[in-house]
């Protein structure tokens, strides 16, 4: 990893450790300002946050460890933290000191981690946060006494106002390079794991008893009152549904405007580059390959930003844990964790933010199972496909006289995806991802006002990671797919009439000019269509025809399947090119629906029947037709094996389901 400062290596390394919700991020921001950098630890998706802290006349590199309750390495986060503290991470020397962030309102449990930190033989300075909140509840805390009892420096801080920061700096500075007595050591005879924990807590209880004066009115605080509604058996669920709907609505429809803007922005950029570059392969590669491919994924950025905004807000306020609490019973029926709900829900808008949102699930196997099924949720990119096929074949039909058949089919597609996801999750948790049920044990943190700086910072940092992670793979696949549909180039033959209408337009009557223009467009469309049919993608379409024949698809649909591997909605534009109606049509275009209805096989029979359309829709629900998702799954699982497994199982599932739909339908006399 590159150092933050290219010219000057920090002299000191200081680790920042603490429980989740202890105020670690706020302190990190206060100490480092904007001088921070987020990356991943090598080979894993644990975020590595690092910043520069001016410590007197020295420059320290401040490492923000993941939020931890313990250091016993049951979770990936804990293992990484141990590696950092023992100096096992590449290019990261063992820390010279640790700042342990301790929440005064939750002193005993927060101090548990501190007793473990003592064992690493690195000087520890305790930064005590939320002292004002604690004392407002009429408790008293004696920081000096606590320091004496623990045998480590304790500084009471308030990061938002800067209170205590100078003292912290001084105390940490004084520890650097000093080898000091280890304040707390376990009795050597204690071997049993449970007994060790017990011993640590005894030490803590003793220290806290001496330094804190409790009042007895501590229970029934604000959070507990709020929870009477928010985790209420009935209203709690109702509110949760409302919150999820709001999130869903936002990423589904409110993101549409910025997405459209981005889309037309990339379109305009494409046009602009086309006019600036000489016509030829290079121009086509840059515009139709790179700009269209990368633009196609950056279009999702508004959705991703919005989803991450919501996730950060939900996490920061403390509501996320409540949602998991409310839904755990339901989700555990399918072998999933309560926290899997939000990622899956988000996947209805787009699987990419959904897969990234699984980071909140701590257990790796639970997380992997959730990632594997997230792409089965019908995302918004499938909508144009559904819309086109429904508009073509089922536009006017009604079920039971009042329900539109289109709406029923649409709903059925969503249901197929959900049912498939449940079955797959269940099967995975019984087989490949079988594990002892991981502990659910989860803190319900007190409700707090979110810190907006942290929330926005989180949102942008995650979005930045997404662009970095997905970008390279998507760029590569875009170019390959573009090349497949582009090469081999048709010879510029003389048979295609060349229309030079510019000079004639002026002298001819408007009708003739319009007719000529029309013919020119038709010829251009035809040329495009022929080029695609003769391309490698076209040849591939022919090659896979025998295999997709049992699904009722011909080679032209085969081409569309291949090109829509880039992204599902590409199916619409590919079909438009194949059927000579030009690529700039949308899913509701009459010309395209007519062209689809009139398409004939060589024997004169219609290619498309309503049954073909339903089969294709079923295929699209289940098939992994999205290179961006593949790229992000590769990055998030850090495994090609699991990525290929996902692509493989989804393709098989899609094929089998489509086969059953088509053959079953034919058997029943449809189509």
């Amino acid at each position: 990893m590159k150092s933050l400062q290219t010219n000057q290596k920090p002299e000191i390394v200081i680790a920042l450790a603490g429980n989740p919700n202890a105020g670690k991020t706020t302190l990190f921001n206060a100490l480092t300002g904007m001088k921070q950098k987020v990356a991943n630890y090598p080979g894993v998706t644990v975020e590595r946050k690092e910043g520069i802290w001016k410590l007197g006349d020295k420059t320290a590199s401040l490492i923000d460890l993941p939020g931890l309750y313990s250091l016993d390495a049951t979770s990936l986060d804990e293992q990484i933290a141990r590696d950092v503290l023992t100096g096992k991470v590449e290019n990261l020397p063992k820390p010279d000191a640790i700042i342990a962030v301790v929440d005064a309102t939750n002193l005993e449990r927060n101090l548990y981690l501190v007793t473990q930190l003592f064992e690493y033989k690195i000087p520890v300075v305790v930064a005590l946060t939320m002292v004002d909140v604690f004392e407002k509840e009429k408790h008293e805390i004696d920081a000096e006494k606590l320091s004496e009892m623990l045998g480590a420096s304790v500084v009471s801080i308030k990061a938002s106002t800067g209170h205590g920061i100078d003292e912290l700096e001084e105390k940490v500075g004084a520890k650097i390079g000093k080898r000091e007595e280890i304040p707390f050591v376990l009795n050597e005879s204690t071997e049993n794991g449970n007994a060790k924990i017990f011993e640590r807590y005894n030490f803590i209880s003793n220290a806290v008893q001496e330094s804190v004066k409790h009042n007895d009115l501590e229970e029934h605080n604000f959070s507990e009152k709020l929870d009477r509604i928010l985790t209420h058996k009935f209203f709690g669920l109702l509110i949760l549904i409302g919150v999820l709907l709001l999130v869903f609505q936002t990423i589904f429809s409110w993101a549409e405007l910025p997405m459209n803007l981005l889309e037309s922005g990339f379109g305009a950029l494409n046009e602009f580059v086309k006019t600036k570059l000489p016509e030829g392969i290079l121009a086509d590669l840059i515009t139709d390959g790179i700009i269209a491919g990368v633009g196609g994924i950056l279009v999702f950025l508004p959705q991703i930003l919005l989803l991450f905004l919501f996730i950060s807000l939900l996490e920061d306020t403390g509501y996320m844990a409540r949602a998991a609490f409310l839904l755990d019973k339901l989700m555990s029926k399918f072998g999933l964790h309560g926290k899997a709900f939000l990622p899956l829900m988000s996947s209805f808008a787009c699987a990419i933010p959904g897969v990234m949102a699984t980071r909140t699930i701590e257990n790796p196997k639970d997380r992997l199972a959730t990632i594997m099924i997230a792409p089965l949720m019908s995302c918004s990119a499938r909508l144009p496909v559904y819309t086109l096929l429904i508009a073509t074949f089922f536009a006017e039909q009604k079920v039971f006289g009042f329900l539109s058949l289109g709406a029923v089919l649409m709903l059925a597609m969503y249901a197929i995806g959900i049912i498939a996801a449940i079955i797959v999750a269940f099967a995975l948790k019984k087989t490949l991802l079988k594990s002892e049920t991981p502990p659910f044990v989860m803190e319900l943190p007190p409700y707090r006002m979110p810190n907006f700086r942290t929330v926005f910072q989180n949102m942008f940092q995650r979005a930045g990671l997404f662009i970095k992670r997905a970008g390279t793979v998507i760029l590569a696949i875009s170019i390959v797919l573009w090349a497949l549909t582009y090469f081999p180039r048709p010879a510029e033959n003389a048979e295609t009439p060349v229309f030079t209408t510019t000079s004639e337009e002026k002298c001819l009557c408007p009708e003739t000019a319009a007719r000529l223009k029309d013919e020119a467009k038709k010829a251009e469309d035809e040329k495009q269509s022929l080029a695609l049919q003769n391309s490698y993608a076209g040849q591939l379409g022919h090659a896979i025809e025998p295999y997709i024949e049992p699904l009722g698809f011909d080679w032209k649909i085969g081409i569309a399947l291949i090109s829509s591997f880039a992204a599902r909605e590409v199916l619409v534009s590919t079909l438009s090119i194949i059927y000579n109606v030009g690529k700039d049509v949308d899913a509701e275009s009459d010309t395209l629906t007519n062209a689809i209805r009139e398409a004939k096989r060589p024997d004169g029979s219609a290619v498309w029947t309503p049954l073909t359309a339903i089969t294709l829709m079923v295929f699209f629900v289940l098939a992994m037709q999205c290179m961006s998702t593949i790229a992000i799954v590769r990055r998030e699982t850090n495994s090609w094996k699991w990525t290929l497994f996902m692509v493989g199982y989804m393709t098989v599932l899609a094929y089998v389901a489509a086969f059953l739909t088509y053959q079953g339908g034919k058997f029943l006399g449809f189509g």
Binding site: N106, N194, E219, D227, T231, T437, F440, E443
Partner: protein, 75 residues
């Protein structure tokens, strides 16, 4: 009796942790050790998981996990 059959609102003292699994370890790390006072706050809509109050904070755990915690009702 175990924490799983403790009635909502009742306070009790943990007497023993049964077994040594990842869940019991996590529970102990979170401060549920013999001698500590706990109170059941509520159960989730489908009866599981439950919320308890321990060492001044709220902790959620599944009923199956609560069954590993032996408690005694304090007077």
């Amino acid at each position: 009796m175990t924490l799983a059959n403790l009635e909502i609102g009742t306070e009790a003292k943990v007497t023993q942790i049964l077994g040594e699994t990842p869940a019991t370890k996590r529970l102990m790390e979170m401060g549920v050790v013999p001698g500590v006072k706990v109170r059941v706050v509520k159960s989730a809509p489908f009866g599981d998981p439950i919320e308890i109050r321990v060492r001044g904070y709220s902790l959620a755990l599944r009923k199956s996990e609560a069954e590993t915690i032996e408690v005694q009702i304090s007077n």
